[in-house]
Amino acid sequence: MAVLKVFIIEDNEVYAKALHHHLSLNPDNEVEVFHTGKSFLQALHTRPDMVTLDYSLPDTTGEEILKKIKEFDKEIPVVIVSGQEDIRTAVNLLREGAYDYIVKDENTRERLWNTVNHIRENVRLKDEIDRLREEVNIKYDFSSIKGNSEVLKKVFRLIEKAVMTNITVSIYGETGTGKEQVAKAIHYNSTYRKKPFVAVNMAAIPKDLIESELFGYEKGAFTGANQRRIGKFEEANNSTIFLDEIGELDLHLQAKLLRVLQEKEITRLGSNLPVKVNSRVIVATHRNLADEVKKGAFREDLYFRLLGLPIELPPLRERGNDIIILAKFFADEFCKDNQLPKIQISRAAQQKMLKYRWPGNVRELKAVMELGVVLSDDGMIEEEQLNFHSQDGIKDLIFEETSLRNYTQQIIKYYLDKYDHNVIKVAEILDVGKSTIYRMIKNKEIVLNAK
């Protein structure tokens, strides 16, 4: 877990120093000392995770301070560490919400240590509960990797393989194909499932910040580093770290990442103490990393280190009828979320979807379907209510590298299907001879769908 911020209020400088030293023995405690009530109250807004409080202070009493802390946030645990006060004072303090009362004697050290550990555990559990609540609220779009196509079944088989060990997994796929969903599917089915899934998008973080984001930093490591921060790798200790858009990482950081993966330890910026980390690494990219290696933009050693189990996510246009399954799913979800009656997708609309190139893949399909539902009338999404967003122009038409003849055949077939095999009409639209079309049908260059 993250750092536990402990504030000590103690007017005896000698004792304060001893407490500070003792609690700082655990490097995950960030300890700060205040000798007066006033100086503490000025810092209270920085929100400590816990406070130890001496009862008798030069400018106020422990009772007053306790009250002020509870007014600020009644969840902050306050441990009284004080001389033996009379029993009534002790009872009152506990009644006012003190977490514990520890008398200063030869056992203080041990008792305080245990209490701090309890509090740490409580804070950790509370964080965990918050996180789980959030998890429950996020709807896992495993649905977006739902489908029956052979290409996708192959992906499922690989996911099943991936969860059995903690092998590094590299996911390749165009934008919007659901790479993060695959990573989550692996994490939530693996032995790490109870720990947080830590995702970092290399393309979304400014280059200069990636290092501190991944490895963390110590207080004072650079201007503005006014407290220690734990990096994503440490956060993902004994869990899964998902490095999205790994192909965007620059060469300098690639070298650092390689070292971390090899040594299984990180060093926070501004520190020279390495910290052991044990994480399952999943990377994803839309680039062909092998090509990047050839171009010299990606380190070969890192490429091999990250390759692990490669999973290639097929683009939506190659998933055949999955497009319709997903389209119906997204339409239904959207209707449910907006209390709308169930909706149908017309046959023509389905045909239109099957022919489209889907450069934005599943993400684009979801957007298209949601808009389709909004535009639809009478519980039916029609062809003209599907608005494709792609603005690639001619590139949209070119969906594979093939001969012009093949393109011609496909285009003619598309129009024939669209106009119920009306050769005359199609010949008119495309401005080709009827006989050309008839010949292609006869030679089985065009195979018409059954009506």
Binding site: D11, N12, E13, V14, Y15, K17, A18, H21, H22, L25, S56, G83, K104, D105, E106, R109
Partner: protein
């Protein structure tokens, strides 16, 4: 009897140091910076008859005396604290304050020898 126990005992601090060699030195330094004025205050408030204040200072001094293992004063400082709190002056109090003052004086000069010049 108490006179035969050592003046102070740094074992507790050594233990607390948990392998940090600088810690004891820092603690001695802190002790020497802050404690003499507290002893002075305690004596002064006794002389001025401000027993309540005297008790408060004794209360504050107590953990430092415990930490440095100054056994000869552990009972004394508690007695002074109690009498101060109760604002109860008895015939022994003057002796106790005197004892605290002189033992602490010795402790200070011995501890100073431990510090690097």
């Amino acid at each position: 009897m108490e006179q035969h126990s050592p003046l102070f005992d740094l074992n507790q601090l050594n233990e607390l140091a948990a392998g940090n060699p600088e810690f004891v030195g820092v603690m001695v330094d802190t002790f020497l910076t802050h404690t003499p004025s507290q002893v002075e205050q305690l004596v002064l408030s006794f002389e001025q008859g401000d027993l309540k204040r005297m008790g408060e200072v004794a209360h504050k001094l107590k953990p430092s005396i415990d930490l440095f293992g100054i056994e000869r004063l552990q009972t004394t400082v508690r007695s002074i604290e109690q009498k101060g709190k109760a604002e109860h002056k008895d015939e022994k109090l003057s002796l106790e304050v005197e004892q605290l003052n002189s033992v602490m004086g010795e402790v200070f000069s011995e501890l100073k020898k431990l510090l690097p010049k």
